[in-house]
């Protein structure tokens, strides 16, 4: 079994369209959408939900107002400025702003009245769904949710357990943009990363940073360029950077409006026979499946 993570650094390069296409092409695969902030893979796979679970991470403090002496210690100690003073009908009280709270617990530990309680922080949902192209592990992070890194780990774990139990060949992971916490969580321990680059100056800048992160964690990188014909000079530059940095070059995918059409229809682009992009994605998948 191999775990392939599709990444891009920059957003909007076509990661999800490509991951959904791989789902349609791979025979024995489970899918994991680790872009939990903007989980779009399910939109292309016509899914039926099998299982849903609430996801908790970290803690959330809560001031029991009746017992509060308004000493203001929590307000002064909070390193995230998450505690605010509010005055309602002439009476001042303190409130914790959930979205700003990091869950360090300092307010709880240092309240002289012991009137700040902690509860587990509800951060979102983790789902297991069925699609015609295989089972999908995915999640929804609540708006402003903390810790997408841990949620990413949970989504991957669910996919890994499913893949092991059913002796599948592939785990295909749709990663998130950037190089930070959720990306690190999606790649640690994976077998391969497919980097979907874009032939733009920003795309090259971002790609270089993602390659550095993958090399930091010792994961081999395969690179393809999407919308390659938009700027062929940049596409060639990407190819030489990839070879210089000792990673694997896979090829190019042309700009194709059918990618948007397929997205709005809710199907993977490889299922549209006339799509130029679809044809190249098939070639790239064949190369990956022989690695």
């Amino acid at each position: 079994m191999k775990e392939l993570v599709v990444l891009s650094g920059k957003g909007g390069t076509g990661k999800t369209s490509i991951a959904a296409s791989f789902a349609a092409l791979a025979k024995r695969a489970v899918l994991a959408d680790c872009d939990v902030d903007a989980a779009d893979l399910f939109l292309l796979l016509d899914v039926k939900r099998l299982h849903e679970e609430k996801f908790y991470s970290g803690i959330l403090p809560h001031i029991v107002q009746e017992n509060c002496s308004h000493c203001g210690k929590c307000y002064h100690l909070c390193p995230s400025d998450a505690i605010t003073q509010k005055t309602e009908s002439g009476i001042m009280h303190y409130e914790i702003q959930d979205l700003s709270c990091e869950g360090c617990g300092i307010c709880i530990d240092h309240c002289p009245q012991n009137c700040i309680q902690e509860s587990e922080r509800f951060c979102g949902y983790i789902y297991l769904s069925q699609s015609q192209y295989g089972t999908l592990s995915h999640a929804k992070l609540l708006p402003g949710g903390e810790n997408s890194g841990k949620l990413v780990s949970a989504v991957r774990k669910q996919a890994q357990i499913f893949a092991n139990a059913n002796q599948l060949d592939w785990i295909i992971v749709d990663g998130s943009p950037g190089i930070g916490c959720p990306v690190i969580s999606s790649i640690t321990g994976a077998d391969l990363v497919l980097l979907v680059a874009e032939p733009t100056i920003s795309g090259i800048h971002d790609m270089n940073r993602v390659i550095s992160v993958c090399q930091f964690f010792h994961i081999p990188v395969l690179v393809c360029v999407n919308k390659a014909d938009l700027n062929e000079d940049n596409t060639n530059r990407i190819k030489s950077i990839v070879l210089e940095r000792n990673e694997t070059w896979l090829g190019t995918i042309p700009y194709d409006e059918m990618v948007t059409t397929s997205q709005n229809k809710g199907v993977p682009v490889v299922t549209i026979p006339a799509s130029k992009a679809g044809k190249e994605i098939i070639t790239i998948w064949e190369k990956i499946s022989h690695i």
Binding site: S8, G9, K10, G11, G12, T13, T16, V36, D37, A38, D40, L43, L77, P79, L99, S100, E102, G103, C104, G105, I106, D109, L141, P143, G144, G145, E146, N147, S148, G149, S176, P177, G178, I179, G180, C181, P182, V183, I184, E198, P199, T200, I201, S202, G203, H205, D206, R209, S212, V213, F216, F217, L230, N231, N234, E257, T260, Q263, N264, G266
Partner: protein, 286 residues
């Protein structure tokens, strides 16, 4: 005035809007404009605006150092740390600095005062005046590779705001902690989206987030013409203002690929951005 440019989905055109809208607003108001690129994982605004003179500043977060002489190994620091960055075994602390959020809870908890705050480097803040328009200054953060603590670096970039200037923030994509950190202290948010299935799905989550933060907002539809009217219908239903629509154009995309904005180069693009700029200037008396 702090205006944040955000989006649920990446790649919808946040940076394009940030850069061109800043140029438009500066031109309309003749006042100084500050761009804060808070997408510290993948900052891009500096690609479209050149900084002839760059100032580099190391960004740090609080970390801690243990005085093993005074430490009695009582383990209260480990109990206090909700991020599990400290283990105490055989009466000796082991500290994992990459897990530390810099809250200082351990320092407060230590009965022997054996822990002192130190600084740990997480990235760099780069600043400079923009060559294309010296009334604009740009500041961006560059997160160190392998580092997970993006929010404190975002805070360091936000600290570059100055009061006599109109501030435009290029926010990180998504709706989790980095986006909230970048947006939460803004006076106004513009959500950039595309008229596609992904665009709409991610816009809905971004709208939910901005509503939770109770910040007034509107939407800019980028690459209008590539998809359908689902985003328009959603905005109408939800009573959300569409500030402007930027038409899809291959030329704009090609200019972008070369690291240039279409501002003052493509007429339809420029008009669409000017429309948004004028609306904002009039509404907020910028």
């Amino acid at each position: 005035m702090r205006i944040a440019i955000a989006s649920g989905k990446g790649g919808t055109g946040k940076t394009t809007v940030t850069v061109s809208l800043s140029l438009a607003i500066q031109e309309l108001t003749k006042k100084p404009v500050t761009i804060l690129d808070c997408d510290v994982e993948e900052p891009n605004a500096h690609i479209f605006l050149s900084l002839p003179k760059k100032q580099l500043e190391t960004a740090t977060i609080q970390s801690c150092s243990f005085d093993t002489e005074t430490c009695t190994g009582c383990g209260r620091c480990s109990d206090a740390c909700r991020f599990n960055a400290i283990a105490v075994v055989k009466k000796k602390p082991i500290f994992f600095s990459d897990m530390c959020h810099g809250c200082g809870g351990c320092i407060l908890a230590c009965p022997e005062n054996a822990i002192t705050g130190t600084q740990r480097e997480i990235g760099t803040v780069i600043s400079g005046d923009v060559q294309e328009n010296p009334s604009i200054d740009l500041h961006y953060g560059l997160l160190n590779v392998g580092e997970i603590m993006a929010p404190p670096l975002i805070e360091s970039v936000l600290a570059k705001e100055h009061t006599d200037s109109i501030t435009i923030i290029d926010s990180p994509p998504g709706t989790s902690c980095p986006m909230v950190q970048a947006v939460r202290t803004s006076d106004y948010v513009i959500l950039v989206t595309e008229p596609t299935a992904f665009g709409l799905n991610d816009l809905k989550i971004a709208v939910e987030t901005v509503r939770l933060l109770q910040i007034p907002f509107s939407v800019i539809i980028n690459r209008e013409g590539i998809g359908d009217d689902r985003v328009h219908r959603f905005c109408q239903q939800e009573n959300i203002e569409i500030l402007t629509e930027i038409p899809q154009s291959r030329n704009v995309a090609i200019l972008y690929s070369k690291g240039q904005t279409a501002w003052k180069k493509e007429q339809d693009f420029t008009k669409a951005v000017q429309k948004a700029g004028t609306l904002l200037v009039e509404r907020f008396h910028l």
